[in-house]
Amino acid sequence: MTGIFTGKAALVTGAGSGIGRATALAFAAAGALVTAADIAPEAANETAALITQASGTCLALHADTSLAADMAAMVARTIAAFGRLDIAFNNAGISGGRPGTDDFDEDRFDRVMAVNAKGIWLGLKYQIPEMLRGGGGAIVNMASIAGLTGVGALSYTASKHAVIGMTKAAATRYAGQNIRINAVCPGAVDTPMLARATAGGAPGPPGTSGPLAAPADIAAAVLFLCSDETRFITGHPLVVDGGVLAG
């Protein structure tokens, strides 16, 4: 299989469903060697099976992105399997619950910040040294339009603002060493997470009533940000929301 990422190793967290799975499949289709990590091992295995069926190469593994040991092992196993790490999509995230009802649930706050914010920080912590060793790389972090506005539960909105903040800080730090770090900010996307959040008729995030983005729409933006064509883009939160923030 040849493509723009042939010979590159790409790591995707939360790769067992939704946007993560779509992006893992897209990287593999474009030639990358893919590590598909997920907190649900069977879901990661399914993604790997889909990639293998399409003649791609994929390492499936279990990782809870809020745990340093899991994140260290995820990167180490990728290096052991592929000998390099060129691309990382820190995608894994969880919902903050229903805005207005779950805003002050302390356990929820701790868990959302642990996965959505600290999980991405841990990703950077273990991915960047390997990319420095390899001479460079591209990282995309999963933010949200909740990282740019006040929509969403308090914990979720706080975690996504944190993602954009650390994306910018890390981008300025490592731009001179050929590592680019950007974020994607989707609006409402047709994923299992959105389906769970809107079960029983609950209102979803802005844009839920209009056409939803497909996971493939977000995957395309991630591949774009990881390609050599974006070599001068870093620290940018790329909005993929169907125009919700514009008006």
């Binding site: 299989m1 040849t2 493509g3 723009i4 289709a29 474009a30 030639g31 910018k168 981008a171 300025t172 730090r173 731009a175 001179g176 983005a213 497909a214 729409d217 395309a220 933006a221 591949l223 774009f224 390609s227 050599d228 064509e229 974006t230 070599r231 001068f232 883009i233 870093t234 620290g235 940018h236 790329l238 909005v239 993929v240 929301d241 169907g242 125009g243 923030l245 514009a246 008006g247």
Partner: protein, 256 residues
Amino acid sequence: MSTEGLQIFSLAGRVAIVTGGNRGIGLAIAEGLAKAGATIVIAARDRQAGAHAAAGLGPNALFIETEITRPDSCLALVRATESRFGRLDILVNNAGIMRAARAEDTGLADWQAVLDINLTGAFLCAQAAYPALRRQRAGKIINLGSLASTFGTAASAAYACSKGGIVQLTRSLAVSWGSDNIQVNAILPGYIESDMTRRAETERPGAFDAKRARTPAGRIGLPSDIAGAAIFLASDASSFITGTSITIDGGYSVQI
């Protein structure tokens, strides 16, 4: 962008107008779109440079002499494009000028020339293109902003106002024409080595070194750094992206 293995980034069969596509960032964008498969129309004032640029963009590329500050000229541009190629899919509003002068020294004629070309010209071209894009129920408009869309600049208040206006034009057209399946986005290049900035460097040396020192990536941008984003925003890969701006500046704007 290499489109090998990635059909959604392909522009095969699409027709694109690039204003000011005869040099600098505009030419780099025209070359990128052509490489991705699009047929290019260069719209510019300079007949010789325009014809020369079109000649380098493949056998089908066309130069159309255009004065983007005149509505009739913009309409003629779109009409000529459609009559030659039968369609219009992509409009890149790139043409722009800079008249360096401090605010207290800016004459009304310079203020108006900058706003007319950089902002009103983009609006008039978009307005002229709209019927063609609406008819196809698909279209892409890409507007060129600047770091001066985000930051103020003492070098030219007129330029900053025109480029700030580009961001609001982008949002407004995105909201207006979203239901027609027309996506409107902006590209905000950082400091790019072009005719415009080289001229400024000759007049007042030092800007290149100062910008390089402040840019986390440690270099000034090249026109070719901008082409990939234009391909992305012109392609089906960005079909859910509208009303936003993509900054391409090596991290300049995230480090104050």
